[in-house]
């Protein structure tokens, strides 16, 4: 009996549905793209599609963590893509500010040099992104602009700012230590996975081991009541947006490290939408309130598993977008109480004596 209780508990946990979706996707892969599961060892580290999902999905997972908090407060952050571009631009420019207007000389290209120490680059990266988050937070919590509008402003202007930083150039990075974040390995696994874990742990400690998580949920559900309870709902929102900016900056760091460059126009393109989708696939409501960061990370993994699956089975390019729409819709319909009710009813009929437990 205990076992079934455990299962029931699991079934009602927030991780259940995203895990289900991921499993179904992987089962599909098992049939149509068996190579998906091959994991080999190459140069002393693991290598394979599943590793790629983790590695490529890392920036999205990180952004999704921040986005979860913002959405939980009942807001949304459309600017994360632009924030990614700004922080990546910051890093690229600090590594080599000479690249902007001047011709590259061979010694720049071959020299593994940087104008700024790595630590400072990372700090500046993070500072830039966090500052953007702070700006969003101030607009939302102090100026009281609706979240979608407030972040739309940075969404539009942000890539312009990133271009301003890089002087409109696509900046290629030639500094090897910087590549470690996106391409390095620790104990056979990509560094980016550890970064996700680190950000998650920081966020989790911050949110669940303090009262911030409770406050965020409370603000998301009823910000007026929260205010009346003596909680500074402004600061709670400010925190969420700032943290989301912080997450964006880390994602910017990894993404620019992946491809050794910063293309202000394209880096992190549409990440805001994918991040929102990850959060929603993870079962957090866009109206705010209860949230689960782990589910959002799963959501990000679902999106990347799907993307790589499509590449692998070779879906024609022109049907990709429509296929993605249908998949995500199906996953999200699983959250609809109506649809779930239907599934549960079918399950109960089959199970016969299934008793609804509390």
């Amino acid at each position: 009996m205990k076992k079934s209780n455990l299962f029931d508990k699991f079934r009602h946990s927030r991780l259940f549905w995203p895990l289900m979706a991921l499993t179904i996707l992987l089962i599909f892969d098992a049939f149509y793209a068996p190579s998906f599961f091959k994991i080999g060892v190459l140069n002393g580290h693991l290598y394979g599609n599943l590793i790629d999902v983790l590695n490529d999905g890392a920036p999205l997972a990180i952004v999704a963590i921040g986005m979860t908090l913002v959405i939980a407060t009942g807001g949304v952050d459309l600017s994360v893509g632009a924030v990614i571009a700004i922080s990546a631009a910051m890093g690229a420019v600090l590594i080599n500010p000479a690249l902007g207007n001047q011709l590259i000389t061979n010694d720049i290209l071959t020299a593994d040099r940087t104008n700024t120490p790595l630590g400072l680059i990372v700090l500046a990266d993070i500072a830039a992104g966090t500052l953007c988050g702070l700006w969003n937070g101030l607009l939302v919590s102090r100026v009281r602009i609706q979240p979608m509008v407030a972040t739309l402003i940075l969404m539009v202007a942000g890539r312009g700012i990133a271009q301003l930083i890089t002087n409109g150039q696509i900046m290629t990075i030639y500094y090897t230590p910087y590549f470690w974040f996106g391409n390095g390995f620790i104990l056979g696994l990509p560094v980016s996975i550890y970064i996700v874990a680190l950000v998650f742990v920081i966020a989790w400690l911050l949110v669940r081991k303090t009262s911030i998580g409770l406050f965020i949920e409370s603000v998301g559900i009823n910000s007026r009541s929260t205010h009346y309870s003596g909680i500074s709902e402004k600061n709670v929102k400010l925190f969420a947006y700032t943290f989301c900016g912080f997450c964006g900056s880390i994602a910017g760091l990894i993404l620019s490290s992946y491809v050794h460059s910063c293309d202000a126009n394209n880096i992190g393109l549409a990440y805001e939408l994918d991040a929102i989708l990850s959060v929603v696939i993870g079962g957090t409501l866009m109206a705010g309130g209860r949230f689960s960061m782990a589910s959002s990370i799963l959501g990000a993994m679902i999106i990347w598993t799907f993307t790589l699956t499509m590449y692998t089975i070779g879906i024609p390019a022109n049907t990709l977008l429509a296929a993605k729409a249908v998949l995500v819709m199906v996953v999200i319909l699983l959250y609809s109480d109506q649809v779930r009710g239907l599934i549960n009813r079918l399950g109960t009929k089959k199970g016969g004596s299934n008793v609804e437990s509390n």
């Binding site: 009262s211 559900i221 009823n222 929260t226 009346y228 003596g230 909680i231 209860r290």
Partner: protein, 505 residues
């Protein structure tokens, strides 16, 4: 076809919510041309029964007969179409659209092109409202008016249905004053004489005995019985509702409770000419240790404003606020919380509960706010606190992990009270704490207030029930037109206060 005397009857209604059996096999029948009271404690299932009758919820079991034929009511819209007009508990109107629309939408007068005729609509709405003695600008959005006005508008809307055969009123009087209530009753009597059946829910026994013909009592979701009002003594009614003897309750509500003596000394809380332009005139108020000060006034007299200013919801622009003799410099709920002030707000739904949080989380919310972001109350401690207050206030719930939005109105109010008691405040401001609360709980809350005063706390008690204010308070201050107009000691009688409130003294 056989004409039954019953216009609406329900048999064997059963409704289960996750973890709560809200209704179990409840029968209810309403005659044409009667006023029928539905009575029961908080959480007895009154509102749920109404919701089942009007299609908001679908009952798990049971049948409904309307006008001699079995019906399944799909939705509130359907209910209206067949002739059931309803005013739900907690005002349920749209605050952004005009008063006239709130009254008329759904049966708005049409112009030549089938368009809405705004002129006619405004006229009709104003006329209907005036029947209840409300004269307001109907073109203004509803949201700018007080809860009481909104309640009147909701009632007007229900009455506006020409074809209605049944009118259901779920605690319509909880935020009305005596005069407005009387006007409502006049209208009810008139409708009754036209053969309309009226269901009336209230926690005010006086009102029940004033207008109703029959009473149906629910207890814990179960049907207790239906009685002729005239043949059911109050004590019996209460006994039926509570399912226990009421002699002790009776004692409590009749005897003066103010056992503690207030010692003059350092005021705990003092306002000096504190006010805010367009909000509240400069006001002096002084609260001693162990003291309960009652605020009396008509609706819209500025009591809530005074409470909000003291608690820091709004920042005063004149005068000063002293706590224990120290001047308060920054105003926000958090500052007040740290200064030991607590406020149970008037608008429970919008400013009180956080519906999707559990009862436990709601109760510890303010305490946690005082501890700050990083001093997290351990889970076990949270449960301890929650359990303590659930017991202390008698909150009816299967577990502290129930979502607060699933509680009945009265129990939600208790949760908010618990939230503030948990912070162990020095000054407790209660704005309409007993609205929508049953007799038993009401007495408990009154007792609690006095107990607190006995333990060295102070209290500001706002209520529209004069009797209640008098019973609990050591001093009564009367507000009128957003201004403090008079202050009375313990010996004042309600007549004096009433005249002061009305301004004819």
């Amino acid at each position: 076809m056989m004409e039954t005397p019953y216009i609406l009857s329900a048999k064997g209604i059963t409704k289960t919510f996750p973890g709560v059996q809200a209704l179990e096999n409840v029968d209810f029948s309403l005659k044409r041309g009667e006023v029928h009271a539905l009575m029961g404690e908080n959480g007895a299932g009154k509102s749920t029964l109404i919701k089942c009758l009007t299609g908001v919820e679908q009952p798990d079991k049971g049948t409904i007969e309307f006008d001699g034929a079995a019906v399944v009511v799909h939705s509130p819209q359907h209910a209206q179409e067949i002739g059931i007009a309803t005013v739900y508990q907690e005002v349920n109107l749209c605050t952004n659209i005009s008063v006239a629309e709130n009254v008329m939408l759904g049966h708005e007068p049409k112009g030549v092109l089938g368009n809405i005729s705004w002129k006619k609509m405004n006229e009709q709405a104003a006329q209907s409202l005036s029947k209840l003695g409300v004269a307001i600008d109907v073109t203004k959005p509803l949201g700018i008016y007080s809860v009481a006005i909104q309640q009147m508008v909701a009632i007007t809307r229900a009455l506006e249905f020409q074809s209605a055969k049944v009118l259901i009123l779920d605690e319509p009087t909880s935020s009305l004053d005596a005069h407005e209530t009387k006007q409502l009753f006049d209208v009810m009597r008139k409708l009754k004489s036209e053969g309309i059946g009226i269901v009336f829910i209230t926690h005010f026994l006086d009102q029940v005995y004033e207008v109703t013909d029959r009473i149906t009592v629910l207890r814990n979701g179960r049907y207790v019985g239906t009685f002729e009002t005239s043949s059911l003594p109050r004590v019996k009614l209460i006994a039926n509702m509570l399912g226990r003897s009421v002699s002790d309750l009776d004692d409590l509500s009749r005897s003066k409770q103010k056992v503690t003596k207030v010692e003059a000394g350092q005021a705990v809380l003092e306002t000096k000419e504190m006010g805010k332009a367009n909000y509240l005139e400069p006001t002096d108020l002084c609260l001693q240790k162990n003291e309960v000060v009652g605020l009396a006034g008509l609706l819209g007299s500025g009591r809530t404003e005074l409470a909000n200013l003291i608690f820091g919801i709004e920042t005063p622009d004149t005068g000063e606020l002293l706590i224990n003799g120290k001047k308060v410099t920054s105003f926000s709920p958090l500052d007040s919380l740290k200064n030991g002030i607590a406020l149970c707000p008037e608008d429970r739904k919008a400013a009180g509960i956080v519906g999707d949080l559990t009862i436990r989380e709601n109760i510890i919310l303010a305490l946690q706010a005082r501890y700050g972001w990083f001093k997290f109350i351990p889970l076990q401690k949270q449960y301890e606190i929650a359990d303590r207050y659930i017991k202390l206030l008698g909150i009816v719930t299967p577990s502290p992990d129930q979502l607060t939005k699933n509680l009945s109105g009265g129990n939600q109010q208790k949760v908010i009270l618990a939230r503030w008691l948990a912070t162990d405040p020095q000054v407790l401001i209660l704005d309409e704490p007993t609205r929508g609360i049953d007799v038993g709980a009401k007495t408990e809350i009154q007792k609690l207030v006095l107990d607190l005063a006995g333990q060295g706390k102070s209290c500001i008690f706002i209520s529209s029930e004069l009797e209640e204010v008098l019973r609990c308070s050591h001093r009564v201050m009367v507000l009128r037109d957003h201004k403090l107009v008079a202050e009375f000691g313990e010996e004042v009688d309600d007549q004096t206060i009433m005249h002061t409130m009305a301004g004819d003294l």
